[in-house]
């Protein structure tokens, strides 16, 4: 074997290394969006559903554009995002730390398994009254809800990730006398990282839902509160404009984290496109 460093020139693999997506323009998603927009435009005009209450999409978009010129909207958006970001960060840090500890210590894992399975399915929304009692109606309440919900998402993913550590990889590290720190740093953590990203993505969506829910129900200043005010004052178009904004926000969050995931996990089989993967 002499030609070692490159693949034989005869066979041209379709894509060897991760590179920018294909040049072919991707039409399908835009068709979907166009159809949905068309329905959102036409259905309200026919008056089939709740005559006069549903504004057509064009006026909702126009309202959103004009709202964008006002400081109130940006302030509210900033507050919602602050709650979201603080809660999400705390949830991820706590989830990763607890996950690593529980996952690496078999005794802890055995002891906590039943508790985790009990606490995890409690919907955070059900905790709102309790949270108000304990933390009041400031934005901290929203943060607490987010931390509670996001923590489990991250924790469970980290536990899955640690279970996924390949025994051969681990034995390799052991045979080369990697200490505990090196094993966690170079074997456990890289294996767990894709799971952590999944956890963060799930937690980010849940956190946004809860940030808005908290504002809607508790009345903490933010987009949720604006929606609530718009609804009670009969400003339907404004209300839908805000709803549309939350939708955009959610999409942006999801796309952003997917992008970060691809950037950080270039080596991972789900990201790389290697002809050797077989």
């Amino acid at each position: 074997m002499t030609a070692l460093d490159t693949a034989p020139p005869g066979q041209a693999p379709p894509v060897t290394t991760p590179r920018p997506r294909g040049r072919r323009p991707r039409v399908a998603p835009f068709v979907g969006i166009a159809v949905a927009a068309l329905i959102a435009e036409i259905v309200p005009r026919t008056g089939v559903i709740a005559d006069g209450v549903l504004p057509p999409l064009s006026s909702v978009v126009a309202e959103l554009v004009s709202e964008a010129g006002e400081a109130t909207l940006w302030q509210a958006l900033g507050r919602t995002l602050r709650t979201w970001a603080i809660g999400l960060t705390a949830a991820v840090v706590a989830g990763v730390a607890a996950g690593l500890l529980i996952g690496l210590v078999p005794v802890l894992r055995a002891v906590t398994a039943s508790t985790v399975e009990f606490l995890r399915p409690i919907p955070s929304v059900a905790l709102i009254p309790a949270v108000i009692l304990i933390f009041g109606t400031d934005f901290e309440s929203g943060v607490v809800l987010i931390v509670y919900a996001g923590f489990w998402q991250v924790l469970v993913q980290v536990l899955y990730g640690i279970q996924d550590v390949d025994p051969v990889t681990y034995d390799t590290a052991r045979s080369y006398r990697f200490g505990l720190r090196a094993r966690v740093l170079h074997v456990v953590w890289p294996t767990t990282l894709p799971f952590v990203f999944t956890g963060i993505r799930l937690a980010a969506s849940v956190a946004l839902v809860l940030a808005i829910t908290g504002e809607l129900v508790i009345g903490t200043p933010g987009i949720g509160q604006l929606i609530s005010v718009a609804q009670s004052s009969g400003a339907t178009t404004r209300m839908f404009a805000l709803v549309l904004l939350t939708g955009l926000l959610g999409t942006l969050v999801n796309v952003g984290f997917r992008y970060a995931e691809r950037a950080a996990l270039g080596w991972h089989p789900s990201v790389r496109r290697s002809e050797n993967a077989r």
């Binding site: 074997m1 290394t17 990889t169």
Partner: protein
């Protein structure tokens, strides 16, 4: 010649609820410093269990393993293991160079020394230009070369190889056999090579240990008197090779049939 690897009365029993499986019955052997010994046995003979006990990855139920006189209680210093599953043994999140460098960093070697070892070992396995690739960008044979480079860069006293070429194609396998043989001749590392392939064992080793079926013991200890310079074509077609091959083969057949070694165990 002093003993480098000493195995005395090794026994391994796997116990789970209600089941008791004796993987290794009673294994005793010794490998001299600088020797190349192949361990061959029928499938299910507990070859991997034996190797894991040697590597300190698995605690034996009874008996002991000594490396250079020191009892093995965990992965011993000065030992490198090359696993069959090269794809899972290399760290996919590290480049080839980083894969080789990482164990050296655990040894706390200075940076320039590490760089020298990485470069030299890559050159020794014929992958001087592949250092910045990720292992999964390489072919299977090349990945196993990286694993071998990692092992020799570690400068071990003992090199353990667990069926390292079982998952590569025949041509690559012949190349890798010659590579391992030439590395052994130039570096003189005590090498234990586990395989189920009789031809491979005879071709590579200075000595072949034949294991019985489970519960395992050593059936035969064959000294391979072939010349040190070996060649895939000529060495394999000599009458000496055929005779040695036949002897080991008969031992394996006996082992499969459950007969105990008679003539050989002297």
């Amino acid at each position: 010649m002093t003993e480098m690897v000493t195995v005395k009365g090794l026994n391994k029993v796997y116990e789970s609820t209600g089941r008791r499986v004796e993987a290794i019955g009673d294994i005793t052997f010794a490998v001299a410093r600088g020797e190349f010994a192949c361990i061959v046995g029928p499938s299910g003979a507990g070859k991997t269990t034996l190797l894991k006990c040697l590597a300190g990855l698995l605690a034996p139920t009874a008996g002991e393993v000594r490396i250079d006189g020191t009892p093995v209680t965990g992965p011993p210093p000065g030992m490198a293991v090359v696993f069959q599953e090269y794809g899972r043994s290399l760290f996919p999140w590290k480049t080839v160079r980083q894969n080789i460098d990482l164990p050296l960093r655990q040894k706390k070697l200075p940076r320039d020394r590490r760089e020298k070892l990485v470069t030299e070992s890559l050159a020794a396995v014929g992958l001087a230009d592949a250092g910045d690739s990720y292992s999964w960008q390489l072919s299977g044979g090349m990945q196993q070369r990286v694993a071998i480079a990692r092992a020799i860069a570690y400068e071990p006293q003992v090199l353990l190889m667990d069926e390292p070429f079982a998952a590569v194609d025949a041509q690559t396998r012949a190349d890798l056999e010659d590579l391992v043989r030439s590395l052994w001749r130039s570096l003189g590392i005590t090498t234990l090579f586990v395989t189920h392939d009789i031809d491979e064992a005879v071709y590579l080793g200075e000595r072949v240990l034949v294991l019985s079926a489970s519960p395992t013991h050593v059936l035969d200890d064959v000294r391979i008197g072939l010349p040190a310079d070996r060649d895939q074509v000529t060495s394999r077609s000599t009458p000496e090779f055929a005779a040695l091959r036949a002897r080991v083969h008969r031992g394996i057949q006996d082992a499969k049939a459950g007969r105990r070694g008679t003539g050989a165990a002297a």
